[in-house]
């Protein structure tokens, strides 16, 4: 077998974060500044930061354009139409069937958060599918930070909705009807379990999004790597067919994972609000 290129290294380089942004259409590379420090943390921007900012900007622009269009047509007394109607349909789906349906009564107040979560993750996911793009959501730090916002939201919700005493019960859990030494024993056993339960949820969110976004890229890159290993047109043809299929699957997964992240966050908020 001939000496092929190091496909594994290429895959890792492609999916990992970097200090260099490859500009499209042969415009070269953009070396990001380094050495930014804040509270002793290295906060130098990376490729994923750039793509997050671009995605966030695009989400905002999308919503502004759609909002303007919807407002204008509403003022003119016309039915929804075109781009505004498309965005409106998705926004309403996330708001009604994801946020309010799972959070329950009062879910409207969480809808902006869930909506932002959904669209931000969706745009980040989709950027990974573009040429020269990078998947910010294929980075554990990013998904972890997003899950952290979900964790904070859930816990603060619990504190506000259940009160300090009710919230404490979600940590130190004693089954009803048990008193005295049994209660203490149960609390001792259940408290670590409850705390683990709280931490596992954002942890699962983190890994699910990261793994789904990264795995698709791994598969696509590995398939493309076959072309360079075999160096055959026949393999290339078959591989490209597979890659197109995988790309379509990734497109589905991009939407699906944004939906799942938003859905699970809503479910966790709803569970916390109705815990007793």
């Amino acid at each position: 077998m001939m000496q092929g290129p190091d496909i594994g290294k290429a895959i890792f380089e492609h999916t990992s974060d970097s200090r260099v942004v490859e500009l499209p259409f042969g415009l070269g590379e953009w070396h990001l500044p380094t050495g930014w420090h804040l509270f002793g943390i290295d906060v130098s921007p990376t490729k994923h930061v750039v793509f997050m900012v671009v995605a966030a900007t695009l989400v905002f622009v999308t919503m502004r354009i759609a909002g303007r269009q919807i407002e204008r047509r509403h003022r003119e007394g016309k039915a929804p139409h075109g781009f505004g109607a498309a965005i409106e349909a998705v926004v309403l789906f996330v708001r009604n069937d994801v946020a309010i349906a799972n959070i329950g009564h009062g879910g409207e107040n969480y809808a902006p958060y869930i909506l932002t979560l959904f669209f931000f993750i969706l745009y980040c996911n989709l950027f990974g599918l573009l040429p020269w793009g990078a998947t910010a959501t294929g980075n554990l730090a990013v998904t972890g930070a997003l899950a952290l916002t979900a964790f904070v939201t859930v816990e603060v919700t619990g504190l506000v909705a259940l009160g300090p005493k009710g919230y404490l019960k979600t940590i130190v859990f004693v089954p009803p009807g048990i008193t005295g030494i049994g209660a203490v024993l149960m609390a001792l056993i259940m408290t670590p379990i409850e705390i683990i339960g709280k931490i596992v949820k954002p942890f699962a969110l983190t890994l699910r999004l990261f793994a789904n976004m990264t795995a698709g890229h791994f598969v696509i890159l590995a398939l493309l790597g076959l072309i360079f290993i075999f160096g055959s047109w026949l393999v290339a043809a078959a591989t490209v067919a597979f890659v197109v299929f995988m790309m379509l699957l990734e497109l589905l997964v991009a939407f699906l994972q944004a939906y799942i992240f938003a859905l699970l966050t809503s479910v966790f908020i709803g569970m916390m609000r109705h815990a007793h």
Partner: protein, 182 residues
């Protein structure tokens, strides 16, 4: 799980720029939170209300229109019912009126007939009475005439017979009887 991740990081740690797909960059956590919160704030203020307000307004308007339509339908139903009832009442009333008019006409006719008969009877009676009276009057007149004629005839007769000898004798005889009786 973190142990596995750490192993992976160790194994691939010598990538370009020190990043691997599994590395956790603390600075990136910071950036993610900053970008996300800025986006959340901007959308919360300028994004979602524009979309949701219009949609909610529209929902409300459609709901209102639906309710109005329902109200109008109920109203129309009620009006139709009322109209039907009124039509039925009017029909019944008309029927009743016709019947009443018929009855009145019948009564009137009967009354007129009775009156006519009465008048006729009256006239007849009066005519009879008049005839009777006239007859009696005629009879009376006739009788008087007859008496007058008789008297006249009798007087003529008496005139003719008074100075006769027989009569003279008769009176004398009568006078004689009167003398005897006394």
């Amino acid at each position: 799980m973190p142990v596995v991740l750490l192993r992976l990081q160790e194994a691939t740690g010598s990538g370009e720029g020190g990043f691997t797909p599994f590395s956790i960059n603390t600075g990136l956590i910071f950036w993610t939170i900053v970008v996300f919160l800025v986006l959340l704030g901007l959308l919360w203020r300028f994004g979602w209300p524009a979309i949701l307000k219009s949609v909610e307004d529209r929902e409300r308007r459609i709901q209102q229109q639906l309710e109005e339509a329902e109200r109008a339908r109920v109203e129309a139903q009620r009006l139709l019912e009322e109209h039907r009832r009124m039509a039925a009442t009017a029909k019944a009333e008309a029927q009743e009126l016709i019947a009443k008019a018929k009855a009145v006409a019948e009564k009137e006719r009967a009354a007129l007939l009775a009156k006519a008969r009465e008048e006729y009877d009256e006239l007849l009676k009066r005519a009879r009475k008049d005839i009777q009276e006239e007859r009696e009057k005629a009879i009376l007149a006739l009788r008087r005439e007859a008496v007058d004629l008789s008297i006249a005839a009798a007087s003529k007769l008496l005139e003719a017979q008074l100075d006769t000898e027989t009569n003279r004798r008769l009176v004398t005889e009568y006078l004689a009887t009167l003398e005897q009786q006394r």
